[in-house]
Amino acid sequence: MKRKHRLMQGNEACVEGAIAAGMKFYAGYPITPSTEIAEISAEKLPLVGGKFIQMEDEIAGMAAIIGASLTGLKSMTATSGPGFSLKQENIGYAAIAEIPCVIVNVQRGGPSTGLPTSPAQGDVMQARWGTHGDHPIIALTPSSVRETFDLTVRAFNLTEKYRVPVILLMDEVIGHMREKVELPDPSELTIIDRKRPTCSSEDYLPFMPEADLVPPMADFCTGYRYHVTGLIHDETGFPSNSYQVADQLIRRLMDKIEMHKEDIITWEEENTEDAEILLLAYGCTARAAKAAVKALRSKGVKVGFFRPITIWPFPEERVRELAEKVKTIVVPEMNLGQLVLEVERLCNNVTKVERVNKINGEIIYPEEIIRKVEEVL
């Protein structure tokens, strides 16, 4: 097969991935540095029989993909920090009502309007806990243009499979960086569609889970009439004030993730076999960390590399294992220490954890990581 290389931006790769995964609906709002995702979707979606709508604000963008997903279309929206904040109530809605949808957040400096054109990794905790209440969420974080394509496909697959909103947590560097990529042929991709009911509409209980804890989802306008609400609800979709129903629903939503975490959680690691120091990084910072590993290894320093690709749920078990093997874990990130809190929690009394933080809109350079490693050696 003839391969075609293309020079493309992360934001473009995201749209390519979404379309390859079967995205048929995009609703969004312009915001730097994610706007290209809207622009390219506006151009490309109609060509594959899809629908693009620009909404009047961020909240509306999130609301519209919930509506579209209920009619059976694979739906996505994209935004950055301020817009991600505005979308939060509806992200919670998608979580409790189990609406498959993909939310892309191309992170920029915050808080508030912050640094609109500069990269940051300050939304890690917001991706997990941005909306109120206990809720399930999956967040994936790419560190290259090609991986942005792959993880966008994966984001759609996971949201369809588990009916959990999936956040693609990019950053400005990955969104705007151009790299030479070779996209896979569509035939090489695994595409997952949501489970649909096999029973008649009379027998359909919209929120009755199967053994995998995921209820089959009927498309609106196909004869399966049912109610969807952000209130606590029972299997029929009707609101309930019952303590038992509330407890069962929230626990099931959380257990959906717990039960399938082996399928959901992925990571990349290098040079961990003999590592004494582990660099744990994600997104664009992982690229600097990888360069640091290379430079340090050439000097004979036993340093390893670990990159969570699924950032939520966090790859706890593997990190705990590695923590027992290494002396120190260094966590560089473009915030004042967010994912490091997870690492510290897991390494409590086992391993030392060191931070490298930067919040001025600049990327973290390999030298800064190397300096920290040399300090702790």
Binding site: Y29, P30, T32, E43, E56, S112
Partner: protein
Amino acid sequence: MAYNLKQVMNKPERLTGGHRMCAGCGAPPVVRTILRALKPEDHAVCGAATGCLEVSTFLYPYTAWRESFIHSAFENVGATISGAEAAYTALKRKGKMDDTYKFIAFGGDGGTYDIGLQSLSGAMERGHDMVYVCYDNEAYMNTGIQRSSGTPKYADTTTSPQGTVLPGKQQFKKDLTAVMAAHHIPYVAQTTLTSNFKDLYEKAEKAIYTKGPAFMNVLAPCPRGWRYDTPDLMAICKLAVDTCVWPLYEVEGGVWKLNYKPKKKLPVENYLEPQGRFKHLFNKENKHLLEELQKDIDMKWEDLLRRCNEA
């Protein structure tokens, strides 16, 4: 006192030069003219929603604003200025404030017609003594020319691209001035940069010194998004008015008043032709689209004449 350009221009600038708005942009002369309408002894608290005006006028360590300035979040300059005004009014009532401050919010069409509409509507309904100015450049220019509900039908933008299937944006422009008039606030005006800024200046003066909420919708062309030659800013504004695409009118105490009636109403092509965003409409096969736009303008103009008792 009759309007005298020379006198008005001699008033101190409250948005100074040195800001980084583009050459040929309508927004800075709009803001400068509005702020000139303040009495020399009065101060202003200015708010700006996220947008070109905000991002280009205060770059650390420089500011073009000689007044207190709040850059709010994108969606709520109306509410932000409401808070400042309400607090000021309370302090003034208690005798804790001597000077006179006026409260002016600026938003682009994205921050006003779309994401900021709820905040604007709330501010007007509560009756704050403030002016909300929309500098309408008919798209999200700050993020790179995406359509808004203020973008006119068939304009080419990056999220309503013209191509072989669709000739640009498919929807008509929202009539925001009429929406605001329906709030029955003391003063609503629609204007742009024409005739030595007289219309804009006089409306700003009225808006600022009318007690209670006022709204001004000011067409402020954008050379990047509209694709015209930068020296043509004023000519484009004049054509908007003379083709009746953007009529000058005001609604004062519920009474609609037309401020300018062109001696000869020009065809819409005259306005569209110098703008690259409408270039595709001049392809032969799109003649019917021009006719559609002309028909719509004629209908809205007749409607406005009736409302203003000019028909």
